[in-house]
Amino acid sequence: MSKYILQMNHISKTFPGVKALDNVKLEIEPGEVHALIGENGAGKSTLIKILAGIYDADPGAEFYFEGREADIKKPIDATLKGISIIYQDLSLFPNLSVAENIFIGRDSNSNSLKKVNWKHIEEIAESALKELDVQIDLNLPVEKLSIAQQQLIEIARALAFEAKLIVMDEPTSSLSAGEVEKLYKVINNLKQKGISIIFVSHKLKELFTVSDRFTVLRDGKYVGTYESKELNEDKLINLMVGRQVLYEKNKGGIQIGQTVFEVKCLSKEGNFKDISFELKQGEVIGITGLMGSGRTELAQAIFGINTPVTGEIKINGESVTIKSSEDAVKKGIAYIPESRKTQGLILEQSIINNISLPVLKTLRNAFGLISRKKEVDLANHYIKTLDVRPALPNLKTGKMSGGNQQKVVIGKWLSTKPKLLIIDEPTNGIDIGAKTEIHKLLRKLASEGMGVIVISSELPEVLAVSDRIIVMRHGRIAGELAIEEATQENIMNYALLGSKVSKENKNQGKGKVIVESGVSM
């Protein structure tokens, strides 16, 4: 009997065109919290999916659970063996009750006409929730719960299945700070019970708070497994990306011109209130804040999607009314949304069709019809200037990598020659090389006179691109920082507490020029 509850060795996975995992190993001890960490595309999710039985590993893999060879063909096999996986998008049934969501899956191998024992279901659900020390009405449909509560339901389900290993994939990505704290408590609680936890995340700070050991993956390869105490954030970043620093902080001190964009007392009920700021020519404003601070809602309101609003919006000193995204584009506003795959791009359509979409009006020939030539020229222009790869204008955008997809979206909006570009989570799901490239591009656009607003939850990113940083909290502007005085700490304090400096670390918060670690919200 080995000392590990889970042993995965020589795990490789080849997809058409890519080797997603190459001889990776993962060993988990009973009752430990184990962080699985790596950049986007490092292979974390692929490894988890093999563990879950969604993918088969390439031949040669060794996979032992509780000392026995694990034969996992489909997801439910893993669950029944005691491996529960909590996916980022959760696996709940919005229309079913809390109790049933906790119970579901146990009957999947039994006779279809077997009578459902509701009393038994409720008992199991109740005891699982009790174990977690939470109180939620068992009969409520899950769609009425907050994301944090839904996550607890998933954990309760794992407990109800007597899970010995729980995998949590980016569990904090949609939680508020308070909810994250509660989740940590739950995790500690599970650990006490001897349950092992694999914690998948790319947020370094939180990993140090909860994890005992780390396994680092890079580009589908195994980098190593480390005790928490032998690491610090710098070291971990180094292991993840293979170099010391993520981004350099923006130095500031640029020449700024007149005001290009201004909002005054912008409010929307249940979204944000009294938002006022100015954007000067040449500068980049970064807007940041926790989940639920209203940053994306604000951006979408300016872009005419989240309407109606009260207050005033001015472009080049001129007051404008924006009732729809069509109005916004007409007035010279471009918005690159957070979710590239559902909001930013039409994946089924070609690069050409995506880039030309907002400017079809300008691509018409003498008969008022779309000129294919103008369209192709336009697409080729941006493919060239933004170095989009592969440079195939007819390629469906769904077949491209994240970074190149983002370049297509940027190209699409540059084609509208916007006066103001709002970009929401500009480098979400993009590899590190492309990230810096996009940051450089944003700075260049601003220096050429375009108003640029960057919305991001990744503080190093905000610090790397912005000249001024607006921190939002509960739908209001909590504070504004010039880049020279901004640090991850004082931004965090605004975001969490609404003031620049927290009581305990009044003496900290002096500007560090280099951003060492990747705190994100």
Partner: protein, 327 residues
Amino acid sequence: MKSILKSKEMSIALIIVMLSIVLSFISPVFFTFENITDILKGNAVLGILAIGMTLVIITGGIDVSVAAVTTAVIVILGKILVFLPDSPISIVLMFIIAPLIGVILGALNGMLVSKIQIPAIVVTLGTMSMINGIILYITNGQYLNSTSFPKIFVKFANFEIFGISILIILFALISIGAWYLLKYTVIGREVLAIGGNKESSIRAGINFDKVQIFVYGFMGLLAGVAAIAQLSYTKAVDPNGLLGFEMQVIAAVVLGGANIMGGRGTIIGTFLGVLLLGIMQNGLILAHIDVFWQKVVVGAIILLAVTFDQIQYKRSKDKLAKIEVEA
């Protein structure tokens, strides 16, 4: 308690009550035992099919071939009944053959939807066209009355318990059975689960294909029972009698609050939806309103119901998306 009052079923029930009150003022006949049982009897076929359709719609599917399948079973029953002896065994045989044919035809739809992954509306359009063709080929569109059927069949069709027609009893049994199935069996819960979230159901080990085949098969089974009911009600084989009936079935289910996108729908809701359609029809007749107005009213009610439903859905979604803004 509050949630019960706010539920969709409650609002339909309220509409039914109000409509009934108005109707009882218009016509004293409305609140008679006879009239009420007439309404139920006249809508038993619609009801039985709507119950099956509820399950299909809960999974996010649709079956426009129901009327064709029902008619096909009626035609086959008509052919067989002529040769059956005048004994109770014939009724038993009828209750074996009809559902069986229905299940086979329904499962065929289910196989095409699940295994070949063709959208349900297209599959059932195709099978509907084929089945209608076959019916036309066999019958030449000819009406066949029940004079050549065994006498026991006519007895069965007229059978009543305490003055309640066998058709109503059939409808009631099916409703209760389907309610039990949805609430208390594993497969019933799986129907709701796959309609709620396909991805989650696969992760939870639910056999997605199996559930889909079951749902369409069950729809077929009820089409078989509905065929018996229709044959008993009209006492004749009319190959064109149910032409276009599928739309009414879908309308009843939608009125009953089931969501065409899947995940939502109850037997009680559908039952009320059927009742609402039936009472409306009855009311128009009692109020001496031209029968031609019926469709106008039904169409308008469907539009109002789906519009209202959508607006409510949007509101609740907006509410969920709200952020706590600091005052």
